[in-house]
Each structure stands twice: as C-alpha cells, then as structure tokens.
C-alpha cells in the first residue's frame, strides 16, 4: 500500500505513462490536503467536455489504483475551479518534478513551511543561531556574540526565540533585571489588539557591556505567568488591519520590525529553537535573516536532519534563495584529537552541502560561475567555524556571572572564528574587537 513518501514518486510514474491524456488537461493542480490525500484540480472549462472526459477517467482510475488511501475515490477525485491561481493562494506550491504544467499545492497543518524565503531585511543585520539538535552550545554562543559585539561598541538586540525552552536571557540578565513581559506575552496580547500594553516593557538593557548596548528580549517576563497557556496560543494566526489573515510568523516579523524601529540596534541576534520546528522555520525563512548559523556536532543525527532540510529547500525550489545565507558552525569541538574531529566534521558537512545545495559543475565549465566549493575552502558555507568545548562556558546558567570577569582573550580563544565570521556578515571590520 502506498505511504506518504511514495505519493509524489507514484504520481510521477503514473503521469509519465499517461502523457497524452495529461496534455489534454494541463495545467493541472495536485492538491495534497491536510490529511495527505491527493485531489486533481482542473480548470472548470474542462468540466463536462466530451473530448477530455476520457483523459480525466484514465488518469483518476490509474491514480486511485496506485495511491489508495492517499487519494479519493475516482468519482470524487477531481474538482473544477474557475481560477487555478486562487487555489494556490496562501499555500505552499511547487512544480511536480519533471512536469512543468503540474503544480503540487501542499497544505500543512503548521503555519510555517520552511519554503517561503523572505528577502534579507534592509535594516539591522539579522543573524539566526540554529541547530538541528539541542544541547550544542547555541544559546551560549549567541550570548557570547552579543557580549562581544557590544564590547566593540555595537547596539545589539538579542531575542530569545527558543520559546519552548527559553534560556539565553538568563545568561545575559540576572533575574531581578528581567523585564515584566516577553515575546510570548506580546504574541498573545497582539491577538486581541493589545500588544502596545506590553511592548515597552518587554526589553531590558543588559548590564554586562559598558561600551555598547545589549537589548535583551526574553521569551517571557520576570513572572512567566500562565506560560503553557500562552505558549499554546502564540501560533495563532491573526487578522491584519484590512481583515486579512496574518500568519503567526507574520505577526512575529511585525514585532521584530517594531522592536528594531523602537530600539535602533545595529545588529539583531535571534536564538532559534532547535530542530525542524515552527519557530525555527519562522526565524530562518520568515524574518529576513542575513546570516543563518547552523550549529552542529559531528553526528549522524545532525547530518540526517540538515539533509532533510536541504532536500526540502531543493524540492520546493528555494535552495538558491537561502543557501548563500547559511554557515556551518562546528560546536563543542573536543579537546582531544581536535584536528581529526574538525576534519571529519568538515568532510561530512561538505558531503551534505555538495549533494543537496551546491551546484554540480558541468565538465569544461568554469567553477566560479557556479555555487560550488571545494571541501577545503575556508570561505565556503559548509566549512565549519569551530568552537572549542570549554568547561567555563558549558553551563548557561553560570554565564552571567562568568561574563562579569571575562577577558577578551579568553573569549577569542574559544569563539574567535565565530566572532570574526559574524563581523564579516554584518560588514563590521572588527577593529574594536582587538
């Protein structure tokens, strides 16, 4: 019996044998609903046309036979619509591989789909800290980056978008300095048009930097309150001023713009949730990030996770829009056999990028015309910026007190490549780091 992953390959196979019938019906929409069931949607001009009825019958019966529970009975499989463009509106859609006139419209129960890539924001550089697996030092690294940039005189805004497991604000703020509200509070209040009430009191300046400023926007305020009840509502879509549906990620983007306008940071660091998650998707694809830092240790689970994501970008045709913003970060490099470890990490990272995101260079073509990199190319997105494991930075809870006595050299020794890389992304020459 056909399972979900076989739906599109089976359809390609079936349509590949029925090209003559298919041509009579094009353009065709393959509507995959929330339950993973396929329907064909055709232009209503074809309805009740004797010359196309045979083609419809041939295709629906063939699909019914092969797709089983992943489609509808043949007599209910086809919908006719006056506007196929309207069917695509608001849904993820992409061409069926190998069939330019067949569009897959994919309806997901989640708001985000990892495939609508917002252009890079024109304001302050936005940098996302992401990892497929948690516990790799991502939040610590973002706190260190915020501290280091602020020490260099920058106005830095840090958002704790790991809403389901908040943490970074703890490392930048002692409890008594936390603001009354956080991102979760705003997202909930915004649903009833009450966001302004919490807006001014959801940001606090950290006391860690004396040369620049760190504005911390926590996931929740001093008192988390009914956090679980609020978290269960942050994903709600809202209505914009014109009564149109606004996805929750759109509401988050609106908040970020408002925060940027209010506090005028030079750079915005966003600590995203680990894994293929709603918030992570919003951070990576919906908020106009300029740099997307992919934290990873060298483990099969991590590469498998990144491969899933890269393949999705390729399948949905957006890989070219996002791949130049990606940068691998080698997390928790062990003290023992560090070089061998980094070499292995780099090799597996390169394999993953090369197979999924880099261009294949046709024989005889110049390599520099393509998005393709050698394994040893230190400027390549796959080439990991290494962060050595360090006992002193291992516990996020102790970071705040640790920052107070921390020297630049100590930070540079552990986080140097990351900090230099971030400087390059935001176009900062980094002189004041020295």
């Amino acid at each position: 019996m056909t399972t979900f992953d076989e739906i599109l390959p089976v359809i390609r196979e079936v349509l590949g044998t029925l090209t003559e019938a298919l041509e009579k019906l094009e353009p065709v929409i393959l509507n995959r609903d929330l339950n993973g069931r396929i329907r064909l949607i055709l232009d209503e001009k074809l309805q009740d046309q004797p010359e196309t009825r045979g083609a419809v019958e041939t295709i629906v019966h063939a699909l019914e036979k092969r797709l089983g529970p992943h489609t509808f009975p043949a007599e209910r499989m086809v919908l006719f619509e006056p506007s196929l463009e309207m069917v695509k509106q608001g849904a993820l859609h992409f061409p069926l591989q190998g069939f330019d006139a067949v569009t897959v419209v994919d309806r997901l129960a989640t708001e985000t789909d990892w495939a609508r890539i917002e252009p890079v924001s024109s304001g302050a550089s936005r940098i996302v800290f992401f990892s497929i697996k948690g516990g790799v030092g991502r939040s610590t690294a973002s706190a260190v980056a915020a501290w280091s940039l602020a020490q260099s005189g920058k106005r830095v805004m840090v958002l704790d978008l790991d809403l389901e497991s908040p943490g970074i604000s703890t490392s930048l703020l002692p409890d008594e300095r936390r603001p009354a509200y956080g991102i979760t509070d705003w997202l909930v209040e915004d649903l009833v048009g009450n966001g302004a009430v919490v807006f001014e009191d959801m940001v606090t300046k950290s006391d860690l930097s004396h040369d620049g400023d760190i504005y911390v926007v926590p996931a929740h305020g001093r008192n988390p309150g009914e956090y679980v009840a609020k978290l269960g509502r942050v994903w709600m879509p809202g209505m914009d001023g014109e009564g149109l549906r606004e996805p929750w990620a759109g509401r988050l983007a609106r908040l970020l713009t408002a925060l940027e306008n209010r506090w005028q940071p030079d750079v915005i660091l966003m600590d995203a949730r680990a894994g293929i998650d709603e918030v992570a998707s919003a951070c990576i694809t919906d908020l106009g990030a300029k740099g997307i830092l992919l934290f990873s240790i060298d483990g099969e689970q991590a590469w498998s996770g990144y491969r899933i994501l890269f393949q999705h970008w390729r399948r949905t045709g957006v890989a070219c829009e996002i791949r130049e913003r990606l940068q691998m970060v080698g997390a928790m490099i062990p003290e023992v056999n560090a070089k061998e470890y980094v070499d292995g990490l780099c090799e597996r990272s390169w394999i993953t990028f090369a197979e999924e995101l880099y261009d294949a260079i046709p024989p005889g073509e110049p390599a520099d015309a393509y998005f393709s990199f050698d394994q040893a190319d230190e400027t390549a997105p796959h080439f990991p910026w290494p962060i050595r494991w360090h006992r002193g930075f291992a516990a996020l809870q102790s970071i705040h007190s640790r920052f107070q006595g921390m020297g630049k050299d100590e930070v540079k020794a552990v986080f140097g490549p990351l900090l230099r890389g971030i400087d390059a992304i935001i176009g900062f020459d980094g002189e004041s780091h020295e």
Partner: protein
C-alpha cells in the same frame, strides 16, 4: 432520509444560481439562505459541532437554527478552531433580513437587490466550503 449538509449546501447553491439567472428572485433568495445555512453547519461540524446520529441534526438544540440566527453559533465554533481565522466572515454578510417564513410571502415582495445581497453572503460561504474541501477539513 439522512442528513448531508455538504450535499445540501451544493444543491441549494446551484439551484439558487439557476433561479437567479432566470430572474426568479423569490425562490433564489430562499435557496441562498438555505445554502448558506447548510454550508455553515458543515463547517461547524468540522470545527467540533456534534451531530445527533439518530436525527442528523446538531446535537445541541440551540444550534438548530436557520441562517438568520446562525451567526453567533458559527462564531463560537469557529473561534475554538486553531485556524478559525481562515474561516472568518463579517456579520454584515449575514442574513438578518432573511427568514424561513418568507417562503409564504408573495413573490412581488422580492427584488433583484434583495436576492443579490443574499447571493453575496451565500457566495462567501460557498468559497469557505471550497477552501475547507481543498484543505481536506471536509470531504
């Protein structure tokens, strides 16, 4: 007979359209009201409204209303669905001047304008039902 809100919604809509095209304003108007009611009740089922299996009617007697009284009931079920925002309608599009008893009224009381305003409201329900079908929320 069994109850099938979706099928009833479609046939009332299609027949109303035929009557509207033929300038039969009174019965077109009547069927637009029934089409909207059936479409909304099918959506309310998708949002969690229970159905009495014996009668096929909404299990809560209070939900057994015609389109002129359905607005608050629809809103209650819609707002309990996580993506209910995608199925919102303005109360202005509703049928406060429509009444099931108008089937006894003389046809001279009905005008094109009256039928057209209800056609507009029923059309919006028709589009929401289509969206729910595309999403697989109803089938």
């Amino acid at each position: 007979m069994t109850t099938d809100f979706l099928d009833a919604h479609k046939r009332h809509w299609e027949d109303a359209e035929l009557l509207f095209t033929a300038a039969r304003w009174a019965n077109a108007d009547h069927l637009y009201g029934l089409a909207a009611e059936c479409g909304l009740k099918r959506l309310m089922c998708a949002f969690g409204m229970k159905i009495d299996s014996a009668s096929g009617s909404p299990a809560r007697k209070k939900d057994r209303v015609h389109v002129d009284c359905i607005w608050e009931h629809y809103e209650a079920y819609r707002s309990g669905y996580h993506d209910g925002v995608s199925y919102s309608l303005s109360s202005l599009e509703f049928f406060s001047d429509w009444n099931i008893a108008q089937r006894y009224a003389p046809q001279g009381d009905f005008t094109r304008e009256i039928a057209a305003s209800h056609r507009d409201g029923a059309g919006k329900v028709y589009n929401l039902v289509k969206k729910a079908i595309w999403e697989g929320l109803i089938s």
